[in-house]
Amino acid sequence: MALIEVDDLVKEYQLNVRHKGLLGSIRSLLIPEYTKKVAVDSISFSIEKGETVGFIGPNGAGKSTTVKMLTGILTPTSGTITVGGLSPYKDRKKNASRIGVVFGQRTQLWWDLPVADTFDLLKYIYKIPDNVFRENMELFSDILGLQEFMKQPVRQLSLGQKMRADIGAALLHNPEIIFFDEPTIGLDVVAKEQIREFVRTVNRERGTTMLFTTHDMLDIEKTCKRMIIIDHGKKIYDGTVEEIKDKYGRSRVLRVEFSEYIADVQLPGAEMIKEEGNKKWFEFQKDQTQVSRLINTLSQKYGIVDITVQEPEIEGVIREIYQGGIDLNETLSGVS
């Protein structure tokens, strides 16, 4: 059995119907009315030990809801979840001691205490042995640079410092599984990279299993091999990051810098999409047109200073999937 098994998972939220105006609000107070909102709609997947999985989807897709159910702070409406053989919501405390959770939107550190004190308390909460505690503190200080602000109260930390402290706090007890819900939200490029590096290190050295929710595709590319995409509560893709890039990242962009301005460039098999001074960008499909032929054509006719081929970014692919531009129901192996 896989480490995490999710089967036919459904979560419906109950929403209070509010009526407009004073009379309406009194009415809602006296006779509450509810509607249902399906946030997660029969999702199934399984994750093996040591896997790193990116869990993505547009806003409101149901990612956080799923993560909450996996951690045990939300009960499913129907369906089953097992995490390491346990049901997270029935064995919340037991499950809690084996997982680590980072919610990027809110810190789990205690506001008034210095970071070091929070870590001390976590040592007792998770009953972490002295040597493990010391080892981890050293490792985290190294990679996450925690020692800079260890003595400061949490409320004084910058967003990036808080996030690093939070990640350290979530990993202090050597959890088998870590759930990240947008751990890089609002961070600068350097901080993001630092966190990705940390995640990679922990996964490599400890074989920690990770589920990673984010809106930054670079996070996924740099940390995850596998990707699950959900939309409107339904799973629409589950497979490798490579495959989706290969299949849908078929278009390439050729950036050419000419030695002089040329008004009209004829290039069969490619389409000009942008121009700027002596530079022009051409888009082509890699399975229909060969780059070498394009370059040949160009270099025979014109003087060329520089030429580069740009790979598609996964970001663009995902954007198209969200906007319905790509229908995943074609041929991908990961589509359910």
């Binding site: 939220y13 109950q14 809801t65 909450k68 951690t71 045990g72 702070i73 939300l74 009960t75 919501y89 919340r92 405390k93 037991k94 809690a96 001691s97 959770v101 919610f103 809110r106 789990q108 008034d112 205490l113 004190d117 001390d120 308390l121 007792y124 909460i125 998770y126 109260p153």
Partner: protein, 262 residues
């Protein structure tokens, strides 16, 4: 157990950080005592309304009452804050007992206030207001026991109010109403013996007089020894009953949280 001790310790240390707040509340307590004693003195001179009761007994009552109130001051919005920010769910995600966590947090700051506010203010009061010592050593011991129970009664009442934030989100009005009820019905402001009989009969049915009135009467030696036992039993019963209500509400609150997602 070790964890909760550490928590209380951290909360104690946390109180030290807010030095300005510390001095402000110390001065506040002294001023309140001063004003109240002045009022009672004025009433006594105008009307002789104390009915032969020695003024220094009344003064001692007021001093002890206000000092206890200072020590029993709790963070009323601790749970509410966690509920509103959603942090409550991350606390539930830790392998510990949340209610013990909140309790340790409050006990830590209670101990702080006891050592850093009660004791200095008490010494100052002996000097300033000629505070009477406890009736005798035995009564002092009963007083300590009863005062601890009084704290637990108040804590459990407070917990019920705090937990209601799972449904109301904002508990300011509720806390204000609760504070007013405690202020009047617990004898914190006016000794209950001055109140009309119908009100005394009503108060007897509530847990409020178990907070301040019972321990203070014991301190003053104004409770006959055979009644002390019954009063202490009554305090314990209220603690159990209020804890029971709090427990049920807590179960419902966490149920609501895990089903409706906060």
């Amino acid at each position: 157990m070790r964890l909760y001790l550490e928590l209380a310790k951290k909360s104690f240390q946390n109180n030290i950080v807010y030095r300005a707040d510390y001095f402000a509340s110390l001065i506040n307590a002294i001023v309140l005592i001063f004003v109240n004693i002045a009022i009672w003195k004025a009433i006594n001179e105008e009307e002789g309304a104390l009915g032969g009761l020695q003024l220094n007994i009344l003064i001692t009552y007021i001093v002890i009452s206000f000092l206890m109130q200072t020590v029993y001051q709790m963070d009323e919005y601790f749970i509410e804050g966690k509920v509103r920010t959603g942090l409550i769910s991350t606390d539930l995600l830790k392998p510990f007992y949340f209610r013990l966590f909140v309790f340790s947090y409050n006990v830590g700051s209670m101990v702080f206030k006891f050592i850093m506010q009660f004791i200095p203010a008490m010494l100052l009061s002996v000097f300033l207001f000629r505070l009477l010592p406890p009736f005798n050593t035995q009564m002092l011991l009963y007083f300590i026991l009863s005062a601890i129970l009084g704290y637990l009664v108040l804590y459990n009442i407070n917990f019920i109010v705090w937990i209601s934030s799972f449904w109301f989100y904002w508990t300011f009005s509720l806390v204000t109403i609760k504070d007013a009820a405690v202020m009047i019905l617990s004898g914190a402001l006016i000794p209950i013996w001055f109140m009309p009989t119908w009100l005394i009969d009503f108060i007897e049915l509530t847990p409020f007089n178990a907070i301040f009135y019972t321990p203070i009467l014991i301190y003053l030696g104004m409770m006959p020894e055979d009644e002390i036992f019954m009063s202490i039993v009554k305090q314990i019963l209220w603690i159990i009953a209020l804890f029971g209500i709090g427990h049920i509400l807590w179960k419902r609150a966490t149920k609501k949280l895990v089903v409706q997602g906060g």
